[in-house]
């Protein structure tokens, strides 16, 4: 055995031990992070899943002229002023005929969510033939009832310490016995906007706000970011102090706290250019500023990773520089660019701070229909709800987080799909 072999053999055990140690360390790191992820997801899901269901009470509403004040053939205008609230109350009184005092009646009415009359109005407007008939349907219960049914109220507490009094609990027990009270999947969570009443609060507005904001962000940051990266990587003169300055600044921008972009957006876009505040447009502009450095840096790295021999081959064939980029370099860099873009967009989707600065925290009751309507976004909605005192908003918060996570997963899936599509071209 020669000397080299002996030396190598002597060191082998140590080498492998080091390798095993490193492998165990890596595995440990992965297990710990998976554990935390699991705990996070578990808490969110266990709390949030109940946010998707809501308590409904079945009422038989008599839609006669005496209660509503309008008969069959009423116009829309008349319907809007009709006594639907009275009809709802009447149906409750019929269910519990023994309730008579004014305060008891008020408590009884409080079983229902305040939007029950509007739901009823909507139903009747859709189907005017119901006028004069009796309509049986499920209406949202008040959030206190919902909280109770979800098991968050301790009946053994003395009555004065509870939000739900014995009288109300008695009514609920009776409704339960009659099968008139039920937790159902809450479609209104997806079709309503924000509301002061937790049982009526939905995320449609925030969802649309997020969608429009992301649309603006993507449409601006992707082309600008990729173009900037291509210019810097393929065309800009090397060893030029100005280009170096730009590079340093882009890298620094990536590290700037996002709230600063919000201040910038406020000062520049809103105050200087007069872009309407609280809108997806200004939100998208601000998030574009925030996302651009991420996209530029990722795209440059992806472009840099394309072997120079490919560029030489194309140039040597007589392709112009732009042709070289678009025929060869860019397609080869696309997977990396898309990954960077998705990371940037995911960051933007979850961003709250800068949007607070430009007024996207407003309480918006109407669904935004375009990029210039006032809107809020999902993470801001989460922030708003988590700040609300009502117990029922806690689960709304988690439910909204689940929706947000769902969107992130969707985006990642899209990214994977795109990557696959581009990678198939070798």
């Amino acid at each position: 055995m020669n000397k080299t072999t002996a030396t190598i053999r002597a060191g082998l055990a140590r080498r492998y031990a080091r390798e095993r140690r490193f492998r165990r360390f890596g595995l440990g790191a992965i297990i710990v992070s998976m554990l935390f992820l699991f705990i996070l997801l578990f808490t969110i899901f266990s709390q949030g899943v109940s946010g998707f269901s809501q308590t409904f009470i079945k009422l038989d509403v008599v839609l006669d002229e005496a209660t509503l004040g309008v008969g069959p053939g009423a116009t829309g205008e008349q319907l809007r002023n009709a006594g639907f609230a009275k009809a709802i109350s009447q149906s409750l009184y019929t269910l519990f005929p023994d309730v008579s005092s004014r305060s008891d009646k008020r408590n009884l009415r409080a079983l229902m969510s305040s939007n029950a009359p509007y739901r009823l109005m909507g139903i009747v407007m859709d189907d005017p033939s119901l006028l004069g008939q009796t309509y049986s349907g499920w209406f949202l219960a008040d959030d206190d009832i919902d909280t109770y049914l979800k098991g968050h109220v301790d009946r053994s507490l003395p009555e004065t310490d509870r939000r739900l009094k014995d009288q109300t609990l008695g009514w609920i027990d009776r409704l339960e016995a009659e099968g008139r009270i039920e937790k159902r999947f809450n479609t209104e969570f997806f079709t309503n906007n924000d509301s002061r009443e937790p049982e009526q609060a939905g995320i449609l507005g925030a969802l649309m706000g997020s969608f429009f904001t992301m649309l603006v962000t993507l449409l601006l940051s992707f082309p600008i970011g990729v173009a900037a990266a291509i210019y810097l990587e393929e065309f800009a003169p090397k060893d030029n102090w100005f280009v170096d300055l730009i590079e340093v600044n882009i890298n620094n921008l990536a590290a700037v706290p996002s709230i600063v972009f919000g201040l910038l957006g406020l000062a520049v876009f809103i105050q200087l250019f007069g872009v309407p505040r609280s809108t997806p447009l200004v939100g998208g502009l601000v998030l574009t500023l925030m996302t651009l450095p991420t996209i530029i840096i990722a795209s440059r790295a992806a472009l840099k990773a394309v072997p120079p021999s490919i560029r030489e081959a194309a140039l040597g064939m007589g392709a112009s520089r732009v042709q070289t980029v678009f025929h060869h370099t860019l397609p080869l860099a696309m997977p990396g660019i898309l990954t960077g873009t998705i990371i940037g967009m995911a960051q933007a989707l979850g961003e709250t701070a800068p949007l607070l600065m430009i007024g996207m925290i407003a309480f918006i009751l109407s669904t935004p229909e375009g990029i210039t309507d006032p809107a809020t976004v999902l993470p801001v909605q989460v922030f708003l709800w988590s700040d609300s005192p009502e117990r029922a908003f806690t689960e709304k918060t988690s439910a909204a987080i689940i929706v947000l996570l769902g969107f992130l997963i969707l985006m990642n899936l899209l990214a994977v799909l795109f990557r696959k599509k581009f990678e198939r071209r070798w």
């Binding site: 560029r311 030489e312 081959a313 140039l315 064939m317 007589g318 392709a319 070798w426």
Partner: protein, 309 residues
């Protein structure tokens, strides 16, 4: 067939320009007295012109006083004067790192792509200044094709690799014409038989030698006037090398070919003229036969006799 004989004939028809005028190099030709190589290399700097026959009448390329700098301090080529004749194969030989590739890359301005690289001197292709502002590098590179030292097929299909140039320059009017160009180019490069069933598979999936032949096919698909080949056969087996050498000999009928090679047998077989580079200096240019049988400069002789390099 013997390439060496055919090449000699054509080589001889060229009129020597003025190269036989005394150059200091002549003084030092192959004496047996062991000269200090260092001083010989030092004296290269005073050599006003390569020894032998660097200049021609009516050349394809006319290059004078060409120097290449990779940056302020690194000069890779020193004042090279060389003419490259029409329809000739000129071989460039020399030890590794002597600037063969660098000089070759000046001829189609591939050095433009290296940041900091500066080329000075006069380079004329058919009398047109290659480095003039008005010179379009795209057109230039379509006229002057290149095969690189390392095979660099596009990560596309074999077909698309070869069809890239014709598509780029609009050389085929329809699919049938394009198919014909692709098949023709692949056949000339000696690759068609091997790949005809998998034209749609990635060119990067071929073996190294096949990739190099693919690159040759790609370069000749646009029928350039000049083809620059940087060690095109260094990764090929003798059979494929033979095919490429035969191809080079046929291409010579219509094109000018500059080939860098480390194989002196290859240079002797396929070229009419040979240029010997040493440490960035062009030392000697002459008919291939003369260079290999009767080198004038000591460095050339040392190199071809295998004493160094």
């Amino acid at each position: 067939m013997s390439f060496a004989t055919t090449s000699l004939d054509t080589g001889m028809t060229k009129q020597p320009h003025s190269s036989t005028e005394t150059a200091p190099g002549n003084m030092r030709r192959a004496t047996t007295a062991p000269l200090d190589i260092e001083t010989v290399v030092e004296e290269l700097k005073e050599l006003p012109q390569p020894v032998g026959m660097p200049l021609l009448d009516d050349p394809k390329y006319h290059t004078r006083d060409v120097s290449v700098f990779y940056n302020e301090t690194k000069q890779a080529i020193f004042n090279v004067d060389l003419d490259i004749g029409r329809n000739e194969v000129i071989a460039m030989i020399g030890p590794s790192g002597c600037g063969k590739s660098t000089y070759l890359r000046c001829l189609n301005r591939m050095n433009d792509t290296i940041s900091g690289c500066r080329v000075t001197g006069e380079l004329l292709l058919d009398g047109e200044d290659v480095y003039a502002r008005s010179q379009d590098p795209v057109l230039l590179r379509a006229r002057v094709g290149m095969v690189f030292q390392k095979p660099n097929p596009f990560p596309k299909s074999i077909y698309d690799n070869v069809a890239y140039g014709p598509r780029l320059h609009g050389l085929a009017n329809n699919r049938a014409e394009l198919d014909e160009i692709v098949e023709d180019s692949l056949t000339k490069a000696g690759l068609f038989k091997e790949v005809k069933d998998r034209l749609n598979l990635p060119g990067t999936g071929l073996s190294g030698g096949q990739q190099q032949r693919l690159c040759i096919a790609r370069a000749i698909a646009v029928s350039p006037e000049v083809i620059l080949m940087d060690e095109p056969t260094s990764a090929l087996d003798p059979i494929a090398t033979g095919i490429i050498e035969e191809l080079i000999d046929t291409l010579r009928q219509s094109f000018t070919i500059c080939i860098v090679t480390h194989s002196m047998q290859q240079a002797a077989r396929i070229s009419q003229r040979t240029a010997y580079f040493h440490m960035g200096y062009l030392v000697e240019v002459n008919d291939t036969n003369t260079v290999f049988t009767n080198p004038e400069h000591l460095l050339t002789e040392n190199y071809i006799t295998g004493r160094f390099g």
